[in-house]
């Protein structure tokens, strides 16, 4: 079977990021980039599917050339080949989904698995828009995925508010990975060396013939409010008084 895994590079979530002076985005200068953690989970799940059912794992990203490092990381984890749809513009989720839909048509995979969202802008839209564009079933927030023997269906457990939902979708489908789906493997040195020889095809986005004009424009980003320092209370009475009158939680 062929498994397509769209991935994205994001600023390292362990680093503190700064908002650009004009509020239009994040200051990326000097920030280390990593593979989005949910994408790693999707790659891992694809690799497990391949290990169980055989086939090929193809990763795809829509990004600038500098994303090659993260794509190679996915190849080092064990993906077979990669496609980099090259663009130097920041695209909105709809445009990314349009590009991925084209790649889907070129590759005709049996299943698409991707992260539920990227931890930079937390859009949580690309999987859903892609499913709509391709008129495919979608199974979002997957915490467990099981493929039927004939590879025609997938049983997916979804994390929904306060519980779990198990659904069945016909393949091909778009599955988006949640945090508890698996624990992704590392890009080991033997894997990194094997990845050196794997193919990474670069396709300029202009060759896809899609409309990438943004439908959503980010107007402004604001940092969260600075937290005020804590106070040490002198007595239980004072604590109760503060909880009642200042925090207003009692």
């Amino acid at each position: 079977m062929k498994i397509l895994v769209p991935v994205k590079q994001v600023p390292n979530p362990d680093e503190k990021v700064k908002i650009k002076k004009d509020g239009s985005g994040i200051e990326l200068e000097g920030v280390k980039m990593v593979l989005n953690p949910f994408c790693e989970i999707a790659v891992e799940e694809a690799l497990r599917m391949k290990e169980k059912h055989g086939g090929e794992v193809v990763v795809v990203t829509v990004a600038g050339k500098d994303a090659e490092l993260q794509v190679r990381t996915a190849l080092a984890m064990g993906a077979d080949r990669a496609i980099l749809v090259e663009t130097n513009e920041e695209l909105d989720p709809a445009a990314i989904a349009s590009a991925l839909a084209k790649v889907y048509e070129m590759e005709s995979p049996d299943v698409v698995i991707m992260g539920k969202q990227a931890v930079d802008d937390d859009s949580n839209q690309v999987g859903q828009i892609l499913a709509a564009k391709l008129s495919l079933p979608q199974a979002t927030f997957a915490s467990k995925v099981e493929l039927s023997e004939d590879l025609k269906k997938a049983t997916v457990t979804r994390e929904v508010d306060g519980g779990l939902e198990t659904i069945e979708v016909e393949l091909p489908a778009i599955i988006t990975a949640d945090l508890r789906l698996n624990e992704p493997r590392y890009a080991s040195l033997p894997g990194i060396m094997r990845a050196k020889k794997k193919e990474m095809k670069v396709i300029p986005i202009s060759e896809l013939g899609i409309d990438t004009a943004p439908k959503v424009k980010v107007l402004k980003l604001e940092p969260p409010k600075e937290r005020a320092g804590g106070v040490i209370v002198g007595s239980v009475q004072e604590l109760v008084e503060k909880l009642k009158n200042e925090a207003k939680v009692l």
Partner: protein
């Protein structure tokens, strides 16, 4: 400074960073308590390829540049020092003699096993009677047909409890002094070779250092590395690489200590203010930052020169001397900034303080580094 890495090295550093954060750091206190790295962590290190970093690609390793190895060691320096010790002893001094001067047969036989971590390596120079004065060692190797017969004792040998292959320096011709030393590959289990129990140390718990005893131990002549009489020079080259790797791990530890210092300075309130608002604390932070910046520049520019094939023992000595002495000062300041909490075992500061102390002693004491630097300056009219 701009550190130039190969793409593979860059990807691997991301892996190491994640491994340190999610697997090593969480068990760091447990390892300290039990004085033992769990077997499953060692086997994960094997799978990741950490043991084979410096083994050339044609022997199943990864051919990391010195810069790449320093960058990995810097990341590993941020957690309990025993984790990086097993790796750095292997890549820094354990395998380097073989990589630099081994015969094709020796490389064929051992390097692929070292690359996978099946064979862990150690380096044995120091003896009860000679440490700094390496040419003063007593362990002897006498030719007997196709073998050499080794007799003597080595002391303080890191990784000795887990190593399968030892690079041992012994005297083949006492008259010739420096030119009478030879490096031998000795496999664990060779008759006449035994490893003593782990020493009780000030720190570096989880890593073990033992005595080696050679009692009429027969080693095949084919196990001589780099030729008879070439052992001293080879050992010095091995130590050059090892020293830079130690400096890089001291840099990682120093960075971690500065981060802890700053976090505590922002949080801890005394006299109604965060202690970070007091100038006395700020100066400790500033001095540490300056030293870390200088360390980084020294280490990575020396690494870049080594990668270009230059021989620069005096600069490596400078980097090791400066990085290890300053890392110890930074640990001391970090402890001071943490006050009483810094002295408690609940925080890792006191552990860094103890573990870093070693870096000023092994692979050449600070005094020996100064000696190397001064000799170079004196010989070259002040060139540094």
């Amino acid at each position: 400074m701009r550190i130039v890495l190969k793409r593979e090295e860059e990807i691997f550093i991301q892996t190491v960073r994640k491994f340190v954060k999610t697997e090593l750091e969480p068990i760091s206190a447990q390892v300290e308590e039990e004085d033992r790295i769990p077997e499953e962590i060692i086997s994960k290190m094997r799978q990741l390829g950490l043991f084979g970093m410096s083994v050339p690609e044609e022997y199943g390793g990864f051919g990391f540049s010195v810069t790449g190895q320093c960058a990995v060691m810097e990341e590993m320096g941020r957690t309990n020092a025993c984790f990086r010790t097993i790796i750095s002893t292997n890549n820094g001094i354990g395998v380097t003699g073989l990589v630099l001067a081994g015969t094709p047969e020796q490389k064929e036989k051992y390097l692929p096993k070292i690359a996978t971590g099946e064979y862990i390596t150690a380096f044995a120079l120091t003896e009860p009677g000679a440490g700094s004065d390496a040419a003063g060692i007593k362990t002897s190797a006498v030719r007997a047909g196709d073998n050499y017969v080794l007799n003597g004792t080595k002391q303080f040998i890191t990784n000795a409890d887990v190593a399968s292959l030892f690079s041992v320096i012994a005297v083949t011709d006492r008259e010739k002094k420096h030119d009478g030393l030879t490096m031998f590959l000795v496999e664990r289990g060779t008759p006449g070779f035994t490893v003593g129990p782990p020493e009780k140390k000030m720190g570096l718990r989880g890593s073990h250092t033992c005595e080696l005893f050679f009692d009429d131990c027969r080693v095949p002549a084919g196990n001589v590395v780099g030729g008879e009489g070439k052992g001293f020079r080879l050992a010095m080259e091995v130590l050059d690489k090892g020293r830079l790797i130690i400096a890089a791990s001291a840099l990682g530890a120093a960075r971690k200590l500065l981060e802890m210092m700053v976090e505590h300075a922002n949080q801890r309130v005394a006299f109604g203010k965060p202690i970070g608002s007091f100038q006395a604390i700020q100066w400790m932070i500033a001095d540490s930052a300056v030293e870390i910046y200088a360390m980084e520049n020294m280490i990575y520019s020396a690494a870049a020169e080594m990668d270009e094939g230059k021989k620069i023992p005096h600069r490596v000595a400078m980097a090791k001397l400066f990085a290890t002495e300053k890392a110890c000062e930074i640990a001391d300041r970090a402890l001071q900034v943490h006050g009483g909490m810094g002295y408690m075992k609940d925080l890792p500061v006191e552990r860094f303080y103890r573990d870093l102390r070693l870096t000023r002693i092994y692979e050449g004491t600070s005094e020996i580094q100064r000696l190397i630097i001064a000799r170079h300056c004196l010989k070259k009219g002040g060139e540094c």
